[in-house]
Point group: C2
Chain length 382, copies 2
C-alpha cells in the first residue's frame, strides 16, 4: 500500500510543499519566450537575497554536483593548484573534481572532525589558485568555518569556492561579506524545491580566472551562462517543470523571510540535539572553536552494538525516512535532516518514533525524554 505519505527526514531530497508540487504540473512553455524569462528573473532576484550577494547568479539544470564541477572546471586549469579541504564525503567530492581539472593539494581530515585554521593557512602559503570548502558537510553534520576561511583565501589571493548546498536558504551565508567567489546550492535542500536544479553565484574575480583558461566545460560553461542570462535565458534547454517548482519554493522562502527561516532551521536542529542528548545518543562531529554542529542535518553515532542501518530500517517501517552513514561511515552513524520546510511537528514525530525504535532495540527505557527535550526547544518558535 503506497500512500505517498512517507516523511522524508533525510538531508535531501526534502518534502516539497503541495503548492510546489502543483506548480510542476503546469503545461510546458516555450523556454525562449517572455514567460520563461520573467520566471528566471524572479528566481534570481529572490536568490540574491538568499545568497546575500551582488554577484551574478545562474540556475543550472543539473544537481549540486554539476554546480560544484562548474565552479572548479571553469576556473582551474591543469597546472593550477587547488587546496581541497576534506572532512566528509562532499569535501572528498570537491577534491575528486579538482583532480580532474588541476593539481590537488588536499587537507584530509577524518570525516566529521574540524579543520585547524593554522593548517589551512599553511596550505595557502604554499600557493594556490583556489580553495574549496564544504560549508556544511552533510555527510558528517558539521558546519565548517566559511567566514574565516574566506578571510584566509583573500589574504593569500586564492579563489574561494564554497559548497553551500545544505546551508544556503536555511542558514546564515554572507556570500559577499565572506568573500565567496563561487557559492553553490542544490534545489532539494534548504530551499525545499525538488531535486534537479542548482544555483551558483560567481564573482568578477572568478570570471577573470575563466579568461585565463584554455577551454571550459561545455554544458557547465559559466561564461555561456552569463551571456544567456543577459537575455534572462539559459544557454541550453532548461528543465521547465523544475523551474516552475523552484519559483514557487522561492516564493515560500520570501514569504517566510530569511531571518525567520534561519531561526527555524537552527532551532529545529538544536531540538534534535537536545533530544539526542536526553536519549544518551552521541553527536558524531568533533568540534573545535571554529566549527559548529550543523543547523540543517544532525549526525549521530549509532548506539553501541547496533548498526545505524537497522535504525534506519526500523524508522522506514514506521513511515519516516532518515539517512545512514555514507562510505566508511555506513552502519556507524545516522543522520536526521531538518531542512527546507520541515516543521516542529515533523521533528516531534521523528523524535517520538526514534524513541520507540531505540526502546525496542533496548537502548533507552524512557520514550518520552527525547520528545520532551525537543519540545522544550521547539516551543521557542511559538
Amino acid at each position: 500500500m503506497d500512500l505517498e505519505d512517507t516523511l522524508l527526514m533525510m538531508p535531501g531530497p526534502v518534502p516539497v510543499a503541495p503548492r510546489v508540487l502543483r506548480a510542476m504540473s503546469k503545461p510546458m512553455i516555450n523556454h525562449r519566450g517572455a514567460e520563461f524569462s520573467a520566471m528566471y528573473d524572479d528566481c534570481c532576484e529572490i536568490l540574491a537575497d538568499v545568497f546575500r550577494t551582488k554577484n551574478d547568479i545562474f540556475i543550472l539544470s543539473g544537481s549540486g554536483t554539476a554546480a560544484m564541477e562548474a565552479a572548479v572546471g571553469c576556473t582551474v586549469g591543469k597546472d593550477d593548484v587547488v587546496i581541497a579541504l576534506e572532512n566528509g564525503k562532499f569535501g572528498e567530492r570537491f577534491k575528486d573534481i579538482a583532480a580532474r581539472y588541476g593539481k590537488v593539494n588536499a587537507l584530509e581530515n577524518d570525516w566529521g572532525s574540524s579543520f585547524d585554521l593554522d593548517e589551512v593557512e599553511k596550505k595557502l602559503e604554499e600557493g594556490a589558485k583556489a580553495i574549496t570548502l564544504v560549508h556544511n558537510e552533510t555527510s558528517a553534520g558539521i558546519q565548517n568555518p566559511a567566514k574565516e576561511i574566506g578571510r584566509l583565501a583573500k589574504k593569500h589571493d586564492a579563489l574561494f569556492i564554497m559548497d553551500g548546498v545544505t546551508t544556503l536558504g536555511g542558514d546564515t551565508v554572507q556570500t559577499d561579506d565572506w568573500g565567496v567567489d563561487i557559492a553553490v546550492v542544490g534545489s532539494q535542500k534548504c530551499l525545499a524545491a525538488p531535486p534537479g536544479l542548482s544555483m551558483i553565484s560567481v564573482s568578477e574575480r572568478a570570471f577573470e580566472a575563466m579568461e585565463k583558461k584554455e577551454s571550459l566545460p561545455y554544458y557547465l560553461d559559466l561564461k555561456a551562462c552569463r551571456k544567456s542570462s543577459k537575455k534572462s535565458q539559459t544557454p541550453y534547454t532548461p528543465a521547465i517543470p523544475l523551474f516552475f517548482g523552484l519559483q514557487e519554493a522561492l516564493h515560500i522562502v520570501k514569504e517566510e523571510g530569511m531571518e525567520a527561516r534561519i531561526k527555524r532551521h537552527a532551532t529545529g536542529a538544536r531540538a534534535i540535539r537536545a533530544a539526542a542528548d536526553a536519549m544518551g545518543i552521541e553527536m558524531f562531529p568533533q568540534l573545535n572553536k571554529y566549527s559548529h554542529y550543523s543547523n540543517t542535518v544532525t549526525a549521530m553515532r549509532s548506539p553501541a552494538g547496533i548498526s545505524s542501518d537497522d535504525i534506519k530500517k526500523d524508522m522506514i517501517a514506521r513511515g519516516i525516512t532518515i539517512a545512514g552513514g555514507q562510505a566508511h561511515l555506513k552502519g556507524k552513524i545516522f543522520r536526521i535532516g531538518s531542512m527546507g520546510n520541515v516543521q516542529p511537528k515533523d521533528i516531534i514525530l521523528t523524535i517520538q518514533e526514534l524513541g520507540v525504535v531505540l526502546k525496542n532495540r533496548g537502548v533507552i527505557s524512557d520514550i518520552g525524554a527525547g520528545v520532551e527535550a525537543a519540545g522544550e526547544v521547539l516551543d521557542e518558535l511559538l
Copy 2:
C-alpha cells in the same frame, strides 16, 4: 489572460500529456530507495526498445546537450581527431564540444544541405577517433543518412556518435544495426516528456575508449553512470519529478507502440509538407539521394519579402507557437515541430491558422488549400 493553453508546435519542448503532468506532482521519494530504482529500470527497459539496442542506457539529469558532451567528453582525448559533420546548429554544437576535448576535422556544409558520402569517407580515411552526426538536424529540418555513415565509421574504425535528439522515440533508429556507439536523445522531443533529462546508449567499444582517457568529465562521467546503474541508481541526485514524468511518457510510448508512433510522425510531417506545397511554400533543406525531409520538424523558407519572425509572431497571437530560424537563418525560415504526442487535429489547426496568417500577409488567396492537402494525408492514419 493566461489560459496555459498555447499549442506548442515547436521542435521541443513539446506538449506533454495531462497524465505526464500529473505524474510530476507526486511527492518526493528517496532517490536511493527501491521505488526510485524500480522506476529507473522500467524507463531503461522501454528505452531499449526505443533505441533498438542491447547497449547500456543511462538517464542523465541534464538536457540533450549534456548527453552530447558526455558522449564526446568521455571518449575523446586532447590528441584525438573528431570528424564533426555539420549542416545545422546542432552539428555545429557537436563540433564546438569536440573542440573542447580533442582536435576537430570538420565537414562544414551550408545548413540544410546534404552530406556527400564520398566527402565523409575521405575525411574518415584521414583517420579519426570518432565521427559525430546529428541524425535529424532540428535547425534545418533535414534527416541525415545515419545508417550509411555508421557503415563508413565502422569500416574506418571510428566511434560513431549520433545525436538522435529529434528522432529517437518518433522515427526509425536502429542503434545496434547501424553501429551507433553512442546515441543520445532529449526527453522533451519525440518522447513527449518535459525537458531536463537526456538518455544515452553506450557500446562496449565506447567504454573501451574511456579506459584510454586520462580524465573524464565528472557530472557527465559515463563510467560512473555504468557503476551506479548496476544498482539501478544514478551517480548523483536525479531530478525526481522529471523521472516521474519520463516514466509516464514512456508508458504512453509503449502503449502506442514504436511502429505506430513512427508511422504517425512520418504521416504528420508529410501532411505538413503537402500543405506547404499546396500553399506555395518551399521546403528549406537541399536533399540528395541519401538525405530526407525530417519526419519530426518541417523547415520552410519564409515567403519572399516576409520575415519568418513576423509569421511566428502572427501565429503566437493566434495561440500557436512555432519556431523561427536560428543564428543566420533567423527571419529566413520557419519551422513546425510535429513530434511527441502531436495529433492530426493539432496539425490541422496549425495549418489552418498558418493559412490565415499567410492570407493576411498577402501570400496566398485560398486558405483552404493547405488544410485540404494536409487532411488528405492525415486521413491515412484513420
